[in-house]
């Protein structure tokens, strides 16, 4: 293990412990870790963003690709608003280009990929001969789609049998949200387990006694403070 690996392991474990210290209460270590993450991420993003503009825009423009040069100039118009209110409207030009290109590139494909193909995939034969599981699956999809969509139909009052249909739609959505919550939980646990691997093995593990000592001191100090407050209140 090189000195860089050791330093990286220690920093990684220290940052994880700083983040977890919030479980006790808001404290300086947590804020330090939080600020390091936010500051580091923004700094990194700015540098990478500038590098990308330089290598993909400025350099090709200097080499004669004037279209890319024009794109850089249009992009810079975003910042003209800082020179005064009367120039604010210039920043609408890159915004309009950005939105126009975004819509142009995605809209057609979006209709096909996310509406047409999805509709076709939903229109399945309810009964599949010789395959009971797929039959059940297709019926569940059909009932789920129809009842959930009906839940959002507000032009008819949901009374009597229609209320039952609407209720089934609501239950289908609740099952879907429950599934989503379960998946979210899986991810959050992964978020815990992975940094834990940096903490429980050396060199990160060497920080555990340090963290325990700090935690013990903070608990003892808070206890003293509480006792002092209680004594003061009693007198």
């Amino acid at each position: 293990m090189t000195p860089i690996d050791i330093a990286a392991g220690l920093v990684s474990a220290a940052l994880a412990l700083m983040a977890w210290s919030l479980l006790y209460k808001e404290n300086g270590f947590y804020r330090l870790g939080e600020n390091l993450l936010v500051g580091g991420t923004i700094g990194y993003g700015v540098v990478l963003g500038l590098k990308a503009v330089w290598s993909h825009g400025v350099v090709p423009a200097m080499q004669g690709d004037l279209w890319l040069g024009l794109a850089v100039v249009v992009g810079l118009l975003f910042f003209v608003r800082f020179f005064g209110r009367k120039y604010v409207w210039y920043s609408r030009i890159p915004l309009a280009v950005l939105l126009g290109v975004g819509f142009g590139v995605s809209l057609n494909a979006m209709i096909q990929a996310q509406i047409t193909v999805q509709l076709i995939a939903t229109m399945k034969s309810l009964f599949v001969g010789g395959n009971i599981l797929e039959t059940i699956n297709n019926i569940v999809i059909f009932v789920g789609v129809v009842t959930t969509m009906f839940y959002f139909v507000y032009s008819i009052e949901h009374k009597g049998p229609l209320n039952t249909v609407s209720k089934i739609g609501r239950y289908v959505m609740m099952v879907a949200f429950g599934g989503s919550f379960g998946f979210n939980l899986l991810g959050r646990i992964a978020m815990l387990v992975s940094p834990m691997q940096a903490v429980v093995v050396p060199p990160g593990a060497y920080l555990i006694p340090v963290a325990l000592a700090i935690m013990g001191y903070v608990l003892w100090r808070d206890l003293q403070k509480r006792r002092a407050a209680e004594t003061k209140a009693a007198t």
Partner: protein, 238 residues
Amino acid sequence: MNIYDDLNSLPPGSVVLQTIDIGWVSWPELGDTSKAIFKFLLSKNLKVLIVDFETTAQGTTLAEIMFTQIQIPADKKYGVDYVNLGYIPGEEAAIAAFAKNIRAVTTKDARGTPFDQLPIMNNVNSIKDISFVMAICMSAGLYPEFYIRQIQLQYGTPLGAAVISSMAPPLKPYVDAGQLVGLMNSQRGGAEFELVSGFLGLATASMDSQSLAHAFVIIAVIAANILFLGRKFGGSKK
């Protein structure tokens, strides 16, 4: 697992695009998955192009970290068997342009080496020269859909996705519709891939603690419900 089967059936020398559209925050969920896929692709003698379209641009650095964290076989050379094309700004528009003509959006790798000095790029000009796209994404729903719209739909290139857990349920309909070959869900997906590919790693090792944590949550949910029902029907006013 469909992704494994598709990748396993590719002839040696085929080019696979592995996107790393993730940042530091999602690396714990998808880092092991990225490593398992990359190791498997190299072991199958496939050529791997790594690229990052995600706006935080952290995937390009994470790819370099990944190269140092795994043992790349001595016969696999950077620029010949794998390459990090770096961060390409422009999101969906950039993906569309990349698919049409890679050299229209970038002519250098992440380390600044021009394509003409990278043998792996000799016969790769557009998405038509790529046999499979493995999208590893963190942004809620966006990036797999970008690839579906601009690559799978337009060119029919097989597309697999590995995503963070919160993104997996909304993407399931794309698997059912055949737009995604398969979907790998967070660290669990990584563990499954490690298992089928034979490259056991930290994702598999994490599954015991994952299972234990889930068991704890299930017990807590059951206990809370018993408590709730007990109070409801037991007549307690609290």
